[in-house]
Symmetry: C2
């Protein structure tokens, strides 16, 4: 398997070089980039749909959507009247920096302050790929089980923020927020944690205020 490991290392090195260039570009343009990661169905797109209307008149923004197939997510974002580019990976399980670079080139509106990148739904592979973002934001929903940070630790180690989503479902599922939060913090004690329901809107204002504060004046 040595060949595989060598090739994989080269792929990651090439990815990291492109990511570093993207990070420099965005920094020089005063753009804050966030890479949203989670399992399929945890609510990445719903989080963007909750965030965009609250911030789009304050922060010029754009979205890059990553999916294995379909442009369903880009259509949902386009309906909110912000610039969006869809990446279809055609089977690949994560976004890479080159794809994000290509997508950014296709964004007509470059005068933005906030770039939100929605990764492919996958709690494992995207953790290895730097996209040039300022931070990874990992989302888990309370329906997924409180043990997820322990079973998929890499993503929680790499993330700066954890959003615990779908808290409106807490009365109906076997989940304990203290346990879930504790498991996440045991893996990464510096995680900033937000509890939220994109369906009811609970917690969304606090998250948006914090995200806004991260974008430099």
């Amino acid at each position: 398997m040595n060949n595989v490991i060598t090739v994989e290392r080269k792929v990651l090195e090439k990815n990291d070089a492109i990511a570093m260039r993207l990070r420099q570009t965005w920094s020089s343009q005063n753009i804050f980039a966030a890479n949203f990661v989670s399992s399929p169905g945890s609510g990445k797109t719903s989080l963007l749909e909750a965030t965009i209307p609250r911030l789009k008149n304050i922060l010029p923004m754009a979205v890059i959507e990553g999916d294995v197939q379909t442009d369903l997510d880009a259509r949902r974002i386009h309906a909110l009247d912000v610039p969006v580019v869809q990446i279809v990976t055609n089977g690949a399980c994560h976004l890479e920096a080159q794809l994000v670079d290509d997508a950014f080139m296709r964004l007509h509106e470059k005068n933005i302050r906030l770039l939100m990148i929605e990764n492919v739904g996958n709690l494992v592979c995207p953790s290895s790929y730097d996209l040039g973002e300022n931070m990874k934001i990992v989302i888990v929903s309370v329906t997924e089980g409180d043990d997820k940070p322990l079973k998929y630790p890499a993503m929680f180690v790499k993330a700066s923020v954890l959003i615990i989503n779908k808290i409106d479902l807490l009365p109906y599922v076997q989940s304990d927020l203290t346990t879930l939060r504790g498991n996440a913090l045991s893996v990464n004690p510096s995680l900033r944690v937000f509890e939220m329901s994109c369906t009811t809107g609970k917690g969304v204002d606090e998250w948006c205020a914090w995200l806004c504060s991260q974008v430099k004046d």
Copy 2:
């Protein structure tokens, strides 16, 4: 990227050769093998926990658990008093046939009729890896969004069975079973679909009867 593609093809070819050997072994021993795949938190382990007590006195069985980290799932299965071996992939996003072969060698109880393999929680990567199973069984929960079969089609194409789980949560989420089922069947019209709640037990008996019928006399 040609080097990567070539190496990946060799890895898959090697995997498929081991899988074919496993399939022949299990067939000769009259063992039916099922490979359970889903996103993290869709309920693979809960499905096994619902299935095992109903069938363990009828069908001698064993379980192979796959996780990126921890033996939490193997402990849950061990509590049900069936033979179980845990594979920890240490970061890898899917099971491979060699790992399953190694795990099967470590099973002390070989006189079984049903082998249930719980894959790593990942709706993308495990679709590419044959483990020698008779069939893949994909699980989605109604909390994940009805568009999942369209956005992650490969897994639904490769699966023979779709289990729609957590139907007890239908009153509280925006999900329509007809849409979800229709999306899945549009990707793979031959999918056998079961609707289920491992929490309330609804639909579990029907699934268990069907699974039992698949294991040859």
